[in-house]
């Protein structure tokens, strides 16, 4: 759940709407037509877009992970059948849905929350969906912090954590939920006193615009779909 907050890379950043559309189109390419060399081309194209945006790290992780998987797959050729089956079942989805993951990563690593909100707003997503979405992103790190504070507190209470695991879950939930509800109430006051919900609509400082490379990226993706449907089967 890593969403960039303060930076979105330094290179050619696509408009968030383009990235969403690319994600839909790659789904079409996978589900309507099945895998092909065109699908792999789409995967490579996503990698290219991530690099052009100036973000390298997630890509390096992906490449590393797949290199290991690929290597193990080769080795598995010698493994007994039971292990082989289990392994293939474990590793399969990682390969099958790689193209989709790549476009999801493209979206997550190169979009700030502010840009995403402005883009969703331009797509006429109403406030009843947009406000919870923004609140949600704001709370992801908060939940992590609260959870750590609570587990720290539990370490000092040796009585907790022994015995029934369902009770341990309860011991985490009680302070966590109380604290989040209280934070929510205070955030409501801080939001109302700065006008949240005053109008049906808000304004945004970001002005999402489609530029030449947005159109370029979409043309490439549509070309891949057309080629898969009517082009040569490779």
């Amino acid at each position: 759940m890593e969403q960039s907050i303060d930076r979105a890379g330094v290179g050619l950043i696509l408009d968030p709407r383009t990235k969403l559309l690319l994600l839909i189109l790659v789904n079409v390419l996978l589900y309507s037509f099945g895998p092909s060399v065109y699908l792999y081309a789409a995967t490579g194209f996503a990698a290219l877009l991530i690099v052009l945006a100036g973000v390298y790290r997630p890509l390096l992780y992906m490449i590393g992970m797949y290199a290991v998987l690929f290597f193990v797959n080769r080795l598995m050729g010698f493994a007994p059948e039971g292990i082989l089956q289990t392994w293939s079942a474990l590793s399969l989805p990682l390969f099958l849905f790689l193209p989709l993951f790549m476009y999801a990563i493209l979206f997550f690593t190169t979009t700030t929350i502010g840009d995403a909100a402005a883009a969703f707003h331009k797509m006429r997503l109403p406030n009843v969906l947009l406000i919870p979405l923004l609140v949600m992103f704001r709370f992801f790190p908060t939940i992590g912090q609260e959870f750590r504070a609570i587990t720290n507190a539990m370490k000092l209470r040796s009585a907790i954590g022994r015995g029934n695991p369902l009770r341990t879950v309860e011991y985490v939930y009680v302070p966590l939920l109380f604290s989040l509800v209280k934070t929510g109430e205070e955030l409501t006051l801080a939001s109302l006193t700065r006008g949240l919900g005053l109008h049906k609509d808000r304004t945004y400082i970001q002005d999402p615009k489609l530029r030449w490379f947005d159109y370029g990226a979409l043309v490439v993706m549509i070309f891949l779909i057309v080629a898969r449907r009517w082009g040569p089967t490779i």
């Binding site: 989709l100 999801a104 009843v128 919870p132 992103f137 109302l192």
Partner: protein
């Protein structure tokens, strides 16, 4: 009580969706494989009951569950898995969950448990194709460079029996979790006046 969602409710929706989605994102990361993935249904159902029940108790308005479902579909289905089909399945289950809770006016324990069961089954969207679209999965696997035996091996795990086991264990989890949740609500949250 006004029945329209107000700003205060939208913030509550955001916070509870954050807990719900974060838990499932972590679970997906830990269990990310088709076999272990089947465990996500019972484990998820076991863990999220208190969050879900407190959520219903605190919002009590039409639309709250649907919005949580929409956000889960958008984030988990669409942006984490990158998968439209999964997103649609999640949203569909959320609509059912909303309807069930609505029938009990968001106050009936029975209807809320039914609602929670629907909300706990959306993850079938992730591994459902292994039962429903066997040919498609097989072809996809083979053209992805795996030998045919691989695909058949995986498919041999996807039997009616395993499906039954998953559904049964999930329903049991739903019941246990709802029971724990209900007890926690009474013992803690109602007493403290936040539910």
């Amino acid at each position: 009580m006004q029945n329209q969602l107000r700003t205060k409710d939208l913030i509550t929706i955001g916070i509870f969706s954050a807990i719900y989605i974060m838990a499932y994102a972590v679970l997906s990361g830990v269990l990310f494989t088709p076999v272990l993935f089947m465990l996500m249904l019972p484990i998820g159902a076991l863990l999220m009951g208190p969050v879900y029940m407190l959520y219903i108790a605190r919002t009590q308005k039409v639309g709250a569950i649907t919005i949580m479902g929409f956000l889960t579909a958008l984030i988990i289905g669409f942006l984490v898995y990158g998968n439209i089909l999964i997103a649609l399945v999640i949203f569909g289950f959320a609509l059912l969950a909303e309807f069930a809770a609505y029938l009990g006016k968001y106050k009936s324990l029975k209807w809320n448990i039914l609602s929670y069961s629907f909300m706990s089954f959306w993850a079938v969207g992730v591994f459902g194709p292994w039962w429903v679209a066997r040919d498609w999965i097989r072809e996809l696997t083979i053209t992805s460079g795996y030998p045919a035996e691989f695909a058949d091996g995986v498919l041999s795990l996807a039997t009616p029996l395993t499906l039954f086991l998953i559904i049964a264990s999930t329903l049991i989890s739903v019941l246990i979790s709802s029971f724990v949740a209900n007890r926690m609500l009474k013992k803690h949250f109602v007493r403290a006046g936040i539910a």
